[in-house]
Subunit: 519 residues, 2 copies
Amino acid sequence: MDGPVLQIGVICFILHGMVSGVPPEYLQKRKHIIDTEERQRLGGTLVLNAKEQKVNAVLMAAKRKEIELSRDTGKIFPPAISFFQAKKLIDHSAVFSIIKRMPKGGALHTHDSSITSLDWLVTNVTYRPHCYMCYTESGDVMFYFYAKPPTNTDCHWKTVASQRQASGDADRFDQQLVRNISIIVDDPSSAYPTVDAVWKKFVKYFQAVNGLLNHAPVFRDYWRQALEEFRHDNVQYLEVRALLPTTYELDGTHHGAEWALNTYRNVTREFVAEHPDFIGAKLIHSAVKFINKQAMLPNVKEAMVFLKKYPDFYKGFDLVGQEGLGKTLLYYLDDLLYPSQQNPPVYLPYFFHAGETDWEETQVDDNLVDAILLNTSRIGHGFAIHKHPQVMKIIKQRDIAVEVNPISNQVLGLVKDLRNHAAVLLIAENYPLVISSDDPAVWEATPLSHDFYEAFMGMTGEQTDLTFLKQLAINSIKYSAMNQQEKQAAMKLWQRKWDMFIDATVHQHYYIHIPGIMG
Amino acid sequence: MDGPVLQIGVICFILHGMVSGVPPEYLQKRKHIIDTEERQRLGGTLVLNAKEQKVNAVLMAAKRKEIELSRDTGKIFPPAISFFQAKKLIDHSAVFSIIKRMPKGGALHTHDSSITSLDWLVTNVTYRPHCYMCYTESGDVMFYFYAKPPTNTDCHWKTVASQRQASGDADRFDQQLVRNISIIVDDPSSAYPTVDAVWKKFVKYFQAVNGLLNHAPVFRDYWRQALEEFRHDNVQYLEVRALLPTTYELDGTHHGAEWALNTYRNVTREFVAEHPDFIGAKLIHSAVKFINKQAMLPNVKEAMVFLKKYPDFYKGFDLVGQEGLGKTLLYYLDDLLYPSQQNPPVYLPYFFHAGETDWEETQVDDNLVDAILLNTSRIGHGFAIHKHPQVMKIIKQRDIAVEVNPISNQVLGLVKDLRNHAAVLLIAENYPLVISSDDPAVWEATPLSHDFYEAFMGMTGEQTDLTFLKQLAINSIKYSAMNQQEKQAAMKLWQRKWDMFIDATVHQHYYIHIPGIMG
């Protein structure tokens, strides 16, 4: 609450010191409007304790300094440009260094194949025996684990080890692999002039990594490594949209969806047992929105079975893929209504992607309406939601959270300057909302910190402070798929970590070491 | 109302033809939400007559075709890219050709020195005798009319005529002059990476043209030509923010603000007398927001005098200039409160620029709050208004219109893809709003048609139709500074022109000739 106090102070100075003849009612009305707006925003009613206020002072000094640098000296403002170019600026930010250390609660919108760093994938997985690679005719890299690679394919499979050795420079080779797989380019606006263009490359990322991930031992390790990396980024909890793909062993045997589900569940249990400061993870099963109508009902039925069998971990169902090109919720409507039409009705929670589009009043855009009518528990992205006043009204009434993924929306071409992101309005009016990271590995973002930075710097005002970030963490537990008992335990665990973060920042004079603040 | 009917038709087909087991209540609820949103948007309650529906069918076929071309084949969508690059695409658009012929009512937010085409300025004004030019040390072109140019300046004045002749190619020379003065560049994102960068060039435009415009005979002709060009673009009415500068004659005499005001008023009267199908124009006096506090009160006092003396034409007061760098309304507060504090209070209507910024919760951003508290009649730009829920509430209650200038906001660096413009939300919820063009001459836009195109194509959905454009025209009269009697007469005149436009489009089978529709 430092902002408005300071601001009113400035006004008082101006009014008493310089301006004559201003009626006090004017000042009162002005203060009332600004204060009301301040309280109305996400986190606006949180009250910081004395220690939190000290941390807030450090944070806000850094925030103001970074904003002023851009606003007053013309230095590029990171949220205004592509994350591909902004990342190196953000990585030197004092605000970012605080956000990294902050316990951020949960990341509720992430995808199974894009949450563990590409670096790990290249420097760990591609170093394993039997790892093969080849280049397709269009120059895209593919990977697979073979006991003996096929020879009758267009793609000429060679071991990664041999290719690496032939290159003569293993580090450079590995960097090249990372660059080849990620969607990062120097000039995104010319490389990806439209949403379709960037999605074409985005899909190639998944084609490249899936040959690695779907190897059963890697599948297990990839999830384990994801939990490690999220925890390292001070994220306490994870919800993953998971396709539950068929995985393969070197000997040719295959595992089905339930094996993948059990792998996620077991690895998570082990991880939580080893790391009592980690809350855990839950799974949201995802079908792709490109399959025929006929193929959807079996997915829904399988979801109902899994939900019944693994209610502690398997929390619901979603459809994924490029929304603009995919089939709509309306197309699959009777399949999605199937659970609620059983006798007795089955409650299968939905977590639908909807409104991840710039095309207003189209059938794709109407996914937002169907998501609501299908009783979605949250809305994935909801980028177009501000174009739907009725949907806005309903999500506020029913407290349906929007999962906002700032960097994803930017790099996938929906918006350039994040100050123009639709969620700015949702934040200003305290709509139910969480910040997540979608597919951080694809653009080499940290698991959640970079998205928190972009939201804090680009999607709130210069006075919006630690209360916003704290509320985001609280929201991530409140709107999670955990049950009430789990949420209470999660809040306790998070609160303990939060207090430690505050203590560490205050008592250990940590702020002295934050680059750029004191210097 | 074609959109929702068609859409429900599609849904019925899907539901009855393909989808089984969908409860009718679902369909009813869905229709209710979509219909409510449709009625809720700007123009959503207008009912089109039979002839208008025919025109609407032509318009919507063209709109859908242009959207589908982009959405489904990856062709660039004009509202998504800089107007500098989009203009040539728009100029070939069938939607644009209809909008050009449509009587659009008034343009309520324009500036005195940037409303008449640069082409006219170069091919008419710079051809006049005694017109001199020079290049400053930084390479910027300057103009002035001299009986005999000064020789003791750093800028070496030469007649434009001599320079043109020396160039050997008059057409090329003139094109070069236009290019030199306008802010258009091939690659705006690299030429103008920040708002400050593009404003630097924008200010140079005014420096270049003011030497021409402030020559008294040119001043008169420039306004006359502006009225011609707006009328030619099927705009019936104009409100101009005017600085009322000192103007000069060739013999060294100067005229003050009142001369400029009378010139605007007299030329407008003559023009309306000659063109009874033109409604007229009004003036909003503007001071610049860079002057010292001490200098503001005389401006306000002068405004009070002019308002009393010329109530038919001089309609109020505003402050202009780059909002991010300028002084705030708060800074000038007691001066701006001065009229209301007289005994008896004087009502000086304000038409404040506010919220033309991407920087949230700053003193500049708070101009929106002060504009409201100072009882502004309209808000110029209001680009940041969606970040202020209290201000939003008040403008709806008090019916204060926001003057949205889509192309200006884009080329001056606030937003790239106009589908992300904040006014999308204002339109979806039918906030009081008009579309204007700000400074069309600076980026070689038509007086109003290009901005109408961008709003219609980029800031509304695929189903939003002629009712939106008709409501914009009606709003431009409703929210104008005309008095009630004038508004009634204006509505009649506009309605007559509108009916003629509808008749011409229907009866003369005009649509056959619209490029791209029938072919």
